[in-house]
Symmetry: C2
Subunit: 361 residues, 2 copies
């Protein structure tokens, strides 16, 4: 009994010391204030359902009533003396704008990092997700415990073990914040609905750079085909939806997470993807060879498909690059490189590429 | 046919002229940049479901998996040289943080207005809503056309007519943005779940001022009873959940929107509400007498109940004020005074009250 009390006190003391030291660490690296010229939010895109009949305010029935849904929700900030092209940041599956905000361990995410680097930043919640929850589809949502599976798929480790050298803080509160950064989809993820809303955003704000993650990777290519205001794409770990010219679609790539299939589209659509610079990043702990660790093995297939896709784009005169971060000297990155412990270095790579392509004027 | 084309062109021209003139109006009132010392987001509160068994990463089943949900999601900003007490802004029914952000017609909402006035601002999405959508409850969500009813309940007018002098822009895009600012609840609105999460936020950030709207009004009183870090409450149009000492609960107040009932709580809990300054605001177009316009008549009952509640609090030594905005000279306000066309004046009233109570140090 006494031992237990002592242990608890030791843990408490350690945690107080850690809190205190991380506070002083934070103070040491205290950032300059953000100078924000303008910030706000809006809905964009979407559709409307309209009941037949005439609404009677003194006898309320469904008749004549409307329902607007399937829009995206956007929060944006424009820093002082901002660069020309805004960054539009689009979350991945099960996620929302939080992906780009404060990291689970409390540091700046890409929202703040790129505001500090003078880019206007637009964070998008795709239709039927997060703050864009008003869906024209019917949705049934249940709490299904799944976090240990995500721990593997997001390549933090093989539960309950963290990968050696993984760029992810190991305290319980980080994991708590990380899992609470998910939110369910309200109805089907309809690629037309999501990309129409994203395209409507590019119509509204004009030429901008699209930053995608995981599931929005594939939706990003579709958006760029729909809208020429997409001036470039930075894609972190695109997970599906690789588009090839019809007749040139590669065979599915097998993995212990299932087969990864590519999609054929008309050549004239594909060619639109050869007109803009595109860079794709994948993190660490992706096996070289087929592995029975399905959480990681799916990414082996995706990295391989991304390279085939890069080659197909470039063969048609495009400008696509795939960076496997360990080959660029960045080790230990998870499926979310932009919130990993080394996310400043991850951002530096992106900044260098934007500069190289003349996109940071 | 030609007539139609001419009409369309006239509308287009008018809308171009309006866009152009509102753009120049915006330029004229261009604000100084916001100087933000710190901004970010986090989840707070919530619970965890844990499946029995042990998770096997090589044979994934539900066994041993966890699910975190029922937290609140918070986005916060701290301006330079900020005042002592942050403002915690909590949305109403069917709403999320957007309530406090850009108004439907594109002006600063209370988030920006009070950042400019040097208050740290915390915007809360309550558990099971918006970005805090990971719910431990089962949810079934359907698109049910209801906007004409909300138009009445939110006192913009009696559909399709706007109230004369209503502080709400009459262009279609404003209405479009307004209705797209709603998002469904994922499961039951459980007052314990929501107020536990709000209370956890006050534990995390320390003493602060709670700003509530409509449905969060009642939840705000419960939060203040739970947590002494709630230093004051500013409540816009609280809609339900008026708490009285057991044995002193007034009779329900009838209205064409249904009877409004009050709730009895132990005296010792009620007395906690007498220890902090509280101000309640209601807008315009609330009938004096019972009305068959149920959208507005419910607010007659709520305003009457709020006055009874104020008297009960003050009789026990409290400091509660009810302001009916037309009596304070502000006409035409809807159920959302903080985003109405005169929201600067609405904010001025709040600022004056905070100053009077010494809460703006």
């Amino acid at each position: 009994m006494n031992n237990k009390i002592i242990t608890c006190w030791t843990v408490l003391c350690l945690s107080l010391i850690m809190t205190s030291s991380s506070l002083s660490a934070q103070k040491k690296v205290k950032q300059k204030p953000l100078i924000i010229e303008e910030q706000g939010s809006f809905a964009v895109g979407g559709t409307m359902i309209e009941n037949p009949g005439t609404f009677d305010p003194y006898n309320i029935t469904p008749a004549g009533q409307t329902f607007r849904g399937d829009h995206a929700y956007v929060f944006y900030q424009v820093p002082a003396e901002s660069r020309k092209y805004p960054l539009v940041m689009w979350h991945g599956i099960g996620q929302f704008s939080k992906t780009w905000e404060t990291t689970p361990d409390g540091r700046d995410g890409f929202q703040n990092i790129f505001l500090r680097r003078k880019f206007p930043v637009y964070l998008l919640d795709q239709p039927r997700r997060g703050n864009a929850g008003r869906s024209t589809d019917v949705a049934s949502v249940k709490p299904i415990p799944d976090e240990q599976q995500w721990f593997g798929v997001f390549r933090i480790g093989i539960w309950p073990d963290y990968y050696e050298g993984v760029q992810f803080a190991r305290d319980p509160e980080t994991l708590n914040q990380y899992f609470r950064s998910m939110t369910p989809n309200l109805g089907t993820i309809d690629l037309n609905v999501t990309t129409d809303a994203a395209s409507a955003l590019f119509n509204k704000i004009g030429p901008a750079i699209l930053v995608t993650h995981s599931h929005s990777g594939g939706m990003g290519w579709i958006t760029a085909i729909k809208n020429q205001n997409v001036k470039a794409i930075v894609s972190y770990e695109p997970g599906s939806g690789f588009l090839f010219p019809e007749g040139e679609v590669p065979s599915p790539i097998a993995s212990s997470a299932g087969a990864l299939e590519a999609t054929g589209i008309p050549l004239q659509d594909f060619l639109k993807l050869t007109k803009i610079p595109i860079i794709i990043y994948y993190g660490d702990n992706i096996p070289d060879q087929p592995s029975k660790n399905s959480g990681a093995d799916g990414w082996r297939a995706r990295l391989e498909m991304a390279r085939l896709w890069r080659d197909a784009v470039n063969k048609k005169g495009g400008d696509a690059t795939v960076v496997h971060l360990p080959e660029a000297g960045l080790k230990g990155n998870t499926h979310f490189p932009f919130l990993d412990l080394n996310n400043i270095q991850v951002a530096d790579l992106m900044s260098s590429w934007l500069k190289e392509k003349g996109l940071d004027k």
